[in-house]
């Protein structure tokens, strides 16, 4: 049986527990490889190693903590680097938060409020993997 490389997903959230829980769950349920990242600087650090393997999806938290670039900035940076996978945002903030508004205004990008239904997360991953 050929050893097919696992599809890769970028998880960017400043909440370490959530990143670990999401990664562990997706690796188990959707057979993907997750990169657990907490900030734009970590994304920049790992990007040269993973860009060749073309990640299929980026799940981005919008607020990455005080003083850190937001998930919206991570999205724009990834796009600038030629990332062609799908992206969606997760947020615990209210919809009228300025950062959430910025994310909503990006064309073709979905913004989901935490906590998201598990089945919905799997469906989005499967859609990106197709």
């Amino acid at each position: 049986m050929p050893n097919t490389p696992l599809k890769q997903i970028l998880l960017v959230d400043d909440d370490e527990n959530l990143v670990d829980a999401l990664a562990e769950f997706l690796e188990l349920a959707a057979a993907v490889k997750c990169y657990r990242l907490r900030s734009l600087s970590e994304v920049k650090g790992i990007w040269p190693k993973i860009s060749e393997s073309k990640p299929i999806l980026a799940i981005l938290d919008i607020n990455l903590g005080a003083g850190e670039p937001s998930g919206v900035e991570v999205y724009h940076w990834l796009n600038g680097q030629g990332f062609r996978g799908q992206s969606f945002f997760l947020t615990g903030h209210a919809k009228d938060h300025p950062l959430v508004q910025q994310a909503i205004q990006i064309e073709g990008i979905k913004v989901f409020e935490k906590p998201m239904e598990i089945d919905r997360i799997i469906a989005l991953v499967e859609e990106a993997a197709r």
Partner: protein, 273 residues
Amino acid sequence: MIYPKRRKRSHNDNMLFSQGALNFLGGLPTATLWTLSRSPVLEWAHVISMISGIGVIIFVVTRRKVLSNLSASLIFAVNLIPAYWLVWTSNAAHSTQGRFWIPFQAHQLACLTVAILAPPNRKIGALTILLFPALAILQYETFSPEQLAWLPARAVVAPILFGGFALILYFFSLRGIGIAELAAKTEAEVQMMEKVTHAILAIKDLANSPIQALSLDAETLRRKHSEDAPVAARIEKSVNQLRELNRILDEHLRGSASASIEASFDPHEKLLR
């Protein structure tokens, strides 16, 4: 902190402070002239007026608790006693000087002043206003024919008219004060609602990631270790209760001022402040 540390000055504070200042300033010229030996007589009414004025000012400035309308009106009425005394003695003094004078002018000005200061209890307010024309009538009745000979005809008509006008002015003042207080109360309620809304948003913001993480962990546990399915189910049940709390908070936020308030905030700061 939801409630302000310092109490805002109310109408009652302003009213009593103004009355205290007027009582003190009213007695000041006579006391000064007496001190400089330009006046041979110092009326006790002036001294008491100044003392009560200072007393009320100190009371208003140092008090921390909110004064009820009845208490404030009663203090106001008691503090008016030197004023009644003063208008009586000054008219009595003028009436014995044996020359024409304009009677009861002080009564007229005093009842207008009470109407402007507007004690909040209507009965006490009306009574304190009407006491001035009543005192004028009473004093008029006590004048001897010699004293009356120096007075213009119908000398008590003016204080009665002023009393009536003062009553109308008083009730309009009360109405204006009532509207202003209602507006202030409404504004305070709006501010309180905004703070509660911010607090709910902050709680939701802090709770959503842990709820999501727990939900994922429960599902992972269920899939990895089927024997732990009851544990995962319990966690999931608890998570669902937290989701329900989230839904209830959303219901509270619906229709609130959340969209109109400044939306960018640090949840920790909002909750700890």
